[in-house]
Symmetry: C2
Subunit: 193 residues, 2 copies
């Protein structure tokens, strides 16, 4: 898989062949096809691997409360950005191919739905612990996911357009402000500020 | 430009030549090059045209207050989705080429910064009219833009994954809740709900 990232990034997804990847990795084609049914399957495995790494990092972010945990997660953006930066061309090429093939497309978008579940569970935990209002957990999860996708996309497309980590943290704080328990807010509003 | 959309969507951005577009439009190559310096310039003009149409529609959305106006704007998502749906392949192809050329890339991402200004001015109006707290207008604009980009991207990639218009409206409501004047909120919190 490391060899595939190297070849796909350097030569492009179209131009890099299974032969090239095997040569880079020093493995036989037999060994390749034992693990992957095709170049597309290899790419999907790379995508899955990247998403799993992100999710493991997200799941390990733990602060005392869910709102703090969500803000903490925005600190992962620079890492996600860095790993995507040099691979933008490779990804666009793959999506282009995927957009013309229904089955591949399904596999490509499946992770989004998975992430929505991840955030929904987190929001439900926030409601249970009393930091969040009784919000619609699914809609809220979707809002967080959309914000994350948008921030990620813009940061990769325009890395110098903003201080993205700061922007992500502020955006999440703004979103959190609307989700917090009114009781807690009311105390703060009436407090020293 | 209509002929270009037709040919790029049907044949792909790479495969469709300036000749093809001229034939479709029934114009000479001389006439083409009088208006556009290259196929890329034509594509950038299409992109600009699409973004201008969106912005005109956004600027015409006027409700009594800024928060209501922003929620109203989410009703444009289905229109934006529909116009992007059949052109996804064409866009991915263009972005792929753009990602390999710095100048084209700059022209491609310029609209994002422009939209951020648009939303910043709207937030400033909301602060001036007293519906929004004294929030950081630029950070808030970026949060709204990221949310919009994320919703748009996900809705185009996975049109059946959710009721996107409903999702967009709910997401915007959630974001708005954190921006509204605390005084107004406090009244509501202590009110009939």
């Amino acid at each position: 898989m490391q060899a595939a990232i190297l070849r796909f990034s350097a030569d492009g997804y179209d131009a890099a062949s299974v032969d090239d990847v095997c040569n880079e990795a020093g493995v036989s084609k037999g060994a390749f096809y034992y693990h992957f049914s095709s170049k597309r399957a290899l790419f999907l495995a790379l995508l899955q691997d990247w998403l799993s790494t992100l999710e493991t990092a997200m799941a390990s972010a733990r602060e005392p409360t869910v709102p703090e945990t969500l803000v903490r997660m925005t600190r992962m953006l620079p890492v996600a950005m860095a790993s995507a930066q040099n691979r933008l061309g490779m990804w666009l090429e793959f999506w282009l191919q995927a957009s013309r093939d229904k089955e591949i497309w399904k596999a490509t978008i499946a992770p989004y739905r998975h992430y929505r579940d991840f955030f929904r569970q987190l929001i439900e935990r926030g409601i249970a612990e009393g930091t969040f209002k009784q919000v619609d957990a699914d809609a809220t999860a979707q809002a967080i996911l959309s914000l994350a996708v948008g921030l990620f996309l813009q940061s990769v497309l325009d890395p110098k357009g903003a201080d993205w980590q700061h922007t992500a943290e502020q955006s999440m704080q703004i979103l959190m402000a609307g989700l917090r328990q009114p009781a807690v807010r009311a105390v703060r509003v009436g407090g020293s500020r």
